[in-house]
Amino acid sequence: MEKKLSEMDFDEEGTVKEIEENLKKQVAGMGIREGKNVRMATKQPIKGPVVVEVDKSFTSLGLGIADKIVVEVE
């Protein structure tokens, strides 16, 4: 099933499927690229940032950015 990264539940895992074109370079340096495995580590209330685990390290993303990344979850 596909969903936005921002819609992932806590501790849910998925594979990055699509990243909005103009965002690709911005998140690549943080380790988020298409085909990467990600796990939702922390979600904040009231449109707060999300923290995802990728390659054993954590990266926080603004919700606006997480909205533009599509992941495939089981």
Binding site: Q26, G29, M30, G31, G35, D55, S57
Partner: protein, 180 residues
Amino acid sequence: MKILLMGHPNVGKSVFFNRLTGAKVLESNYPGTTVDFMKGWMRLEGEDVELIDVPGAFSLEPKDRAEEVAVKMLAENKDSVIVCVLDASKIERGLYLALEIIEKGYPAVVALNMWDVAEDKNIRIDVEKLERILGVPVVPTTAISGEGFKELVSKIKEAAPVKIEKIIESAGGRESAAVS
């Protein structure tokens, strides 16, 4: 010759700077402690060379002020050797930046810093293989205890520019490089 210390925020560049120059730059365990750059001198085989502590950057596409400074410094010092400081426990991200720097044609040395942390996390890195693929010297270091610094300094002179195509080829071609 100049030496630039580059790497992600919070990988220990300032600790490197202090160790190599004997200076006392503020270090703290917060990313982005160095927003401006620091300059200092170190002795390399009897020669005084300038060492620059560049602010932390995730990539060479500037997104904040610290990254802007980093990219500008790189552009203004075309004749320098880059010491890419990586957090060995988060090696994948660091290599992205290292490859960007190598792709721009700078001679580089890769320092796998926080080697002790990576070992604690049970992350094993085949240094020789990485060195073969990248074609630049790769040295494991633990900056806070000073481990690996002698070797690092001795390898700075071995740094030479490498063509990115060569690295893709050594990694097993474009396809396998993309998945592994």
